[in-house]
Amino acid sequence: MSQIPTIEDLAQQLQAVSGAREIDADAALQHIADVDSLDLMEWLYGFQNQYPHIPADESLFADIDDTTTLRVVHERILALVPAEAN
């Protein structure tokens, strides 16, 4: 397993958790059918277990709005990756 998830990894994980047919990394998360805030939390719980070295928490989604996409979340995650993991 990679120490740093790719955006494709995130999309697959969120798809598995939510049951959504498709996750477009550039679509606003609030507008993706079958994905709601509890799906995001369920995904985050799995993420925290899978990548314990990345200190991601619910603040990833604290200011979620119409412009927040999975790509934005991925960028936020990359910013959290400890230097030694890069």
Binding site: S37, L38, E42, D57, E58
Partner: protein
């Protein structure tokens, strides 16, 4: 003798039904959205003259009758509630008076984990003083939810459940675990009405006497800590998820429950739930679900039963029991 029997049980919910269709109309959302969000189709709400204590009295009375006892036989009464009858005295005082309890009375406020905390407390008391104990969980969270708060209003319902423990030779608790993380105290809170912010006309005008919830934080921590407490309890008992016959979780949200089952490996066929009909009744949820499963004959003597709850604070706890002792 340090063990106990679960000699009786009972439950009581108000007659008034609030359906998800009712709430969908109130909040201008689709009924399907509510049900898919939390798995709740209807919940009960207290009416005139119905309170946390009055519900506790009814549930307690039924549990006593089932056990063939009266209040005069009870050495200790423990009422788990986060929505007390009034700030002082404790809700248990009202229940004590109504049921004619002979012995001590105190409240436990561990929010929705309250019944698990109360049961562990009762088991400890039983070791020191092996006489009958009445344990009740009762909450009226429909009264603390802001009627304009959609996210909380769709979840909460009112109800009470109770068990009577009597001394017995069997050590029924095979393992238990309690925990708390006070750094999560702001995930679900009622700001006004205590010493930190006494009630004033201003706090009421601002609605600070109503509960405020951060649903995302609650979800994440509820899953995290309930999974943790179940794993620790099973490990302590040296059993696996496959050895559990029934799991009775806090009935908070079906998506939290399903996540916990998935992450602990407990099969969905073992789940005892009535969430669809009663919603989240807080301290009442586990004993109400237990009472229904016992009345229907689903849970039988000798079964391995896992109770697991979490609540605001955060608090959490689980107990693995060998069920039995009904009269």
């Amino acid at each position: 003798m340090s063990g106990f029997d679960v000699a009786g049980w009972g439950m009581w919910v108000p007659e008034t039904v609030v359906t998800s269709a009712d709430l969908a109309q109130r909040f201008g959302v689709d009924e399907h959205w509510i049900v898919s969000r939390c798995g709740i189709r209807e919940r009960r709400a207290v009416g005139a003259g119905q309170t946390t204590a009055s519900m506790a009295v009814e549930a307690g009375r039924r549990a006593l009758e089932r056990a063939g006892l009266t209040g005069a036989d009870i050495a200790h009464l423990i009422v788990a509630t986060a929505t007390p009858e009034q700030p002082s005295p404790a809700t248990s005082a009202f229940v004590h008076d109504e049921l004619g309890i002979a012995g001590s009375a105190h409240d436990v406020n561990s929010e929705c984990a309250g019944f698990v905390y109360a049961l562990v407390t009762a088991a400890g008391l039983m070791r020191m003083d092996p006489r009958p104990i009445l344990v009740i969980g009762s909450d009226t969270h429909t009264q603390t939810a802001n009627p304009a708060d959609r996210d909380l209003s769709i979840l909460v319902g009112d109800g009470a459940g109770a068990v009577v423990l009597t001394p017995g030779p069997v050590e029924r608790i095979r393992a238990w675990n309690l925990g708390a993380d006070g750094s999560c105290k702001n995930s679900l809170k009622v700001l006004a009405g205590g010493s930190r912010m006494p009630t004033t006309a201003e706090t009421v005008a601002q609605g600070l006497h109503y509960a405020q919830i951060n649903g995302n934080e609650i979800y994440l921590n509820a899953v995290r800590y309930t999974v943790r407490t179940i794993r620790e309890t099973l490990e302590q008992a040296k059993v696996t998820a496959a050895d559990v016959d029934h799991v009775v979780p806090h009935q908070a949200n079906i998506r939290i429950i399903n996540s916990v089952l998935s992450h602990t490996g407990i099969g969905p066929e073992k789940l005892v739930t009535n969430l669809e009909r009663y919603g989240n009744t807080a301290s009442g949820s586990i004993p109400i679900a237990l009472a229904e499963a016992l009345d229907s004959g689903r849970i039988k003597d000798g079964d391995t039963v896992l109770l697991a709850g979490f609540g605001a604070g955060m608090t959490w706890g689980s107990i693995l029991l060998t069920w039995g002792g009904a009269r």
